[in-house]
Symmetry: D2
């Protein structure tokens, strides 16, 4: 573990996407971290700030080829890569004493059969996976602190799991009737050049996608099942919003007859009272995605129309921060014994 005086040496594999540049934004301003290496085979030699001009004056590093990068000299390596990359390199890094935080899906699903079904590849290191930790700090803080390899949660799962945790822990809602109607900004699709992500396709437009099945579905279901102690049936429909950042999930649950008298507002406030990054808003609030833009905050509001048996949980986050890079830094902070908010206390940008 890094002492308080020596900064954490950080490596980033694959820093040319949006989670990569967001990691760079956060880590370049982190008081206890020092960027040591960042790799991209394709962009070897290019100064990072040439690709991402917001980093001019903040990051001096250039991209290095993966094989040259001094990754094994790092204290921690973040993988901001496509699925399948981290699992190929994790073992060597662990053996070199380097912690691994994967922002892709290689260490999210414990069930390798499910992983193979959804990601169309065999898992390269099931044993490493078995010892890895699902990096949702609010649920697994202690395990994260002792982990070698962390699977950073998906963006949708972060909102749905944190939105449902207080209910499932107490067994207050029916498990066969949960609907998560989720909406994401376009940056969630990454910096890949696909027609559907073009401005002229995504702007001034709204659509559902992946209704027949999205990779975050099994991830959510696996985690919810652990919390509930039994299988959970979830209907999950993601939608694409013409905005860059931001995610809002509207979750509908049916309250069990015997739980109708619960004070849900108090339940949530109590469950998350010590969580720096979870804001349970006053009853009846209407959270907006811009209220968390570029911050690691996640906000939750509860609604119960007509005081009936339907509870609506509305959750917002910035998909690139609490839904990706910020959460990864939060994991790093826990991993290295730092205060959890270190380098993550930015005020959201509004307007």
């Amino acid at each position: 573990m890094a002492s308080s005086s020596a900064p954490i040496k950080v490596g980033i594999v694959g820093g040319t996407g949006y989670t990569g540049v967001e990691l760079l934004r956060l880590l370049s301003a982190h008081p206890n971290a020092k960027l040591h290496a960042i790799t991209s085979r394709k962009e070897e030699g290019m100064p990072v700030a040439d690709m991402f001009p917001n980093l001019r004056g903040h990051v001096d590093l250039a991209f290095s080829a993966p094989e040259n990068a001094a990754l094994s000299e790092c204290d921690v390596v973040f993988f901001a890569t496509p699925h399948g990359v981290a699992m190929g390199q994790a073992r060597a890094l662990i053996e070199a004493g380097v912690k691994v935080i994967d922002l892709a899906a290689d260490f999210r699903l414990q069930d390798t059969a499910v992983f193979e079904k959804w990601y169309k590849m065999a898992h390269a290191c099931p044993d490493v996976l078995k010892d890895s930790v699902y990096g949702l700090v609010e649920l697994n803080r202690e395990k994260v602190a002792g982990a070698q390899v962390i699977g950073n949660p998906g963006c949708y799962p972060t909102t749905v799991i944190l939105g449902l945790t207080p209910l499932l822990e107490k067994g207050l809602v029916k498990l066969d009737n949960i609907i998560a109607d989720c909406k994401s900004g376009v940056s969630g699709a990454g910096r890949k050049t696909e027609v559907g992500s073009l401005f002229s396709e995504a702007s001034d437009n709204f659509k559902a996608y992946a209704v027949s099945g999205h990779r975050h579905h099994p991830e959510i279901v696996e985690q919810l099942g652990k919390i509930a102690g039994q299988p959970v049936d979830l209907t999950f429909v993601p939608h694409l919003v013409p905005m860059i950042r931001g995610m809002l999930s509207t979750i509908y649950v049916k309250i069990k007859p015997e739980a109708l008298d619960t004070d849900f507002q108090a339940l949530y406030e109590q469950r998350y009272q010590n969580e720096a990054f979870i804001d349970v808003m006053p009853a009846g609030s209407l959270p907006e995605t811009r209220s968390v833009r570029a911050s690691n905050q996640l906000r939750i509001a509860l609604h119960r129309p007509g005081n009936g048996d339907t509870l609506i949980v509305v959750v917002v986050q910035d998909n690139l921060v609490k839904g990706a890079a910020g959460q990864a830094v939060q994991n790093m902070n826990v991993l290295f014994g730092l205060a959890e908010q270190t380098g993550l206390n930015q005020v959201a940008i509004l307007p």
Copy 2:
């Protein structure tokens, strides 16, 4: 009824909002309609095209004061006004032999107690209301044809009612467990100057609103109840999308056990096979709002994840066209015995 040779003389009361300018766009190009008068007390004397420069070269009229407008000379008068205006003027127009199509809510709700609760005003002419027709042509074509006063449906109700009609007519889904998660472009809020509708507030942002109760909720419930023949319980959550036009509703229903074998795709295709403005897309389609931008089309797609007991109905429309002005013109066409698509056959604007 207008003969085929003489154009329909059209009046518009309150033409300074978005439904007003959209009516003007459609009617100025309508082969059987002639704009005769358009009123606005505030803008009296201003050429309409000065306020809406897209109309330059297409509309020569200027706004006239309501009292001067030759409304009683018209064959039909559209009210593109705030709630409460049409009901004050409807009787006089009827007596002058003028048909009335109200784009606000005065003639949507048959239950005046419900109207007064949600719109905070007593209904000015319950007897006229009683004889009025809810102008959802696909449900009430014959009644529309014979109507004196038409209540043009709300935008959200149009999507939710048409999305559920085939299911409710056949009694295939549970009536106590219907969720409509709806998303609208900002133009739905109109041209009123409110902080929440400012570009810097609504752009790059997403939020739910009116979760505790929206005026379209009782309208939807009243109509669904008529179709189902019994009360329907609906959870309805509207959201605001950073786009100008467009509406998408994601509707979740639970299929009754005895209806699990239904071919829902065939059901919808059959129900709407003769409807020019309803497009039941192939199974598994993902309709986008831009596919109907500036057109009177409404598209529906069905999804049934894992072939389970949850059916998802996705509906898109342009909230200003099929959800407002286009539907009003559709009503006019039926009212005057014209082919329903007259003047409404525009191809949607994409990109």
Copy 3:
């Protein structure tokens, strides 16, 4: 030439881009045209409406392979292809008696050396080029009527040339000091998948591009030189606006001392009084791009701050309509002796 009774048989080569779908939108509603063939090697067999769902119910054609397409049976073929395609096929079509309208640059520049410098390819048919006509109808109406091959103007050139024509024809401004500061929506970059055109790159952002040289610069200069009868020096800076459609050019010229007394407003109104698609707005107007969205209109407004020697010409158009597909249809109308506004009289979409 097509008789008034037989529709014009139209072919489109390369219909998978934005100018292609816009041609389809316009031509499918054109009263005198009939879509006969549309080609795309990559998408052979795919119904056009599967790619562009706004065309569902309006266009039944499927893409055919170029070699199978019955292009030689057509009366006119539009090329909505990358630069270099039309010039390879034009001769064969001409010999088959087919008119050619190229929406790319193959027939825009008469100077083949300039063409080769900017487009990095030799011109395949300089003789055909020599007989081709630059399809800016407002300047070349008679030549267009008699042409075999038409080079449809670029989007920026359309605004700058039409914005300056009245001044250059009369020799009223200095030719060594013209600045065109132009702004375009993102659809101008086409449907190609490039990083810079991604929503998350282009949204909520503004930039200049191609300041060191843009392919439309030589095209503008060649045309302005023809009008002025002598070389013109132009500074041209294009910018990218986070909107889908629309183009606004702010043109700054220095009035010659002897022309300071000119009534420029009257000059423009007179010059364009018979042009259906050019709207010289009242003095002091501030044209908006949305006032021409999805229409073939081009609007011009003049400003002369402090009545000094600087004249500012502001021009707006929809880059995909008057700047591309609409102008191509306008050319077709002239080519086949139709009224110029046939099928092009849509009201712009606002809001």
Copy 4:
């Protein structure tokens, strides 16, 4: 002057607009400042974070009425008010030993006749104005350090003045032929509810505005005149871009014949080499507004097409930061002897 140990006590008058919330974002995270009072007559008693939810957890203050606000206990008071407010309160604050930084125009123009012409009100305290300092730190650092009252520059002037300073200081360009074609995001219009600022009006649209005269014109001209030592003639056209934040100015100047050999790139790099917030980008760069989003950075790039006599200076900034609140905090830092970057070193948000 505040000692390094005691934080600067800060008051904000009129904190309900966009410059107000941006001040709050920056000052709440400023290591040497402490928010002491924030006033709004209209919103008295409302917690600031209820209006601006991004401040939840960061700002605990509630709005107080102006007369109750402990403004005279502050070390510095920012006026984020409409024009005309600060000049009414400045004298009393000065007498109480409080520094004043006005983000409106009351202390920008030294010429009161010009002020009265453009702002339609007499200046309330010409003597205070005479002693005030135009707070463009890069030009007036020493004066700012000793000022009692600072007029924080307008957003457009910041870009145009800093973009031209190196040229005017050296007398390298013609002063009768300067064009500033400027583009701003919509937040520049503030949080006022005006039709033109509505999402449905400003989105997917582009326009010029105030071509006949903008209040920033006399401000720019006054400052440029001071730098040049003689009157400067400027053509200034502002445009509205459909984005929330960001400003780009494209400035066109004519190089004097005797200055054609100048190495302009070197000139700019040298002039601004010690400026933390001015980034002279490599020759040929194309700055984007998003590269400075939510940061106090201003970036400049030079272009000289064909190495001719036209020089193009492209300048970008975030209009709410370097163009308003960030520059105000920069002024505060200088005023209180702090390192200029204190609390202003945020990395821009990209994407």
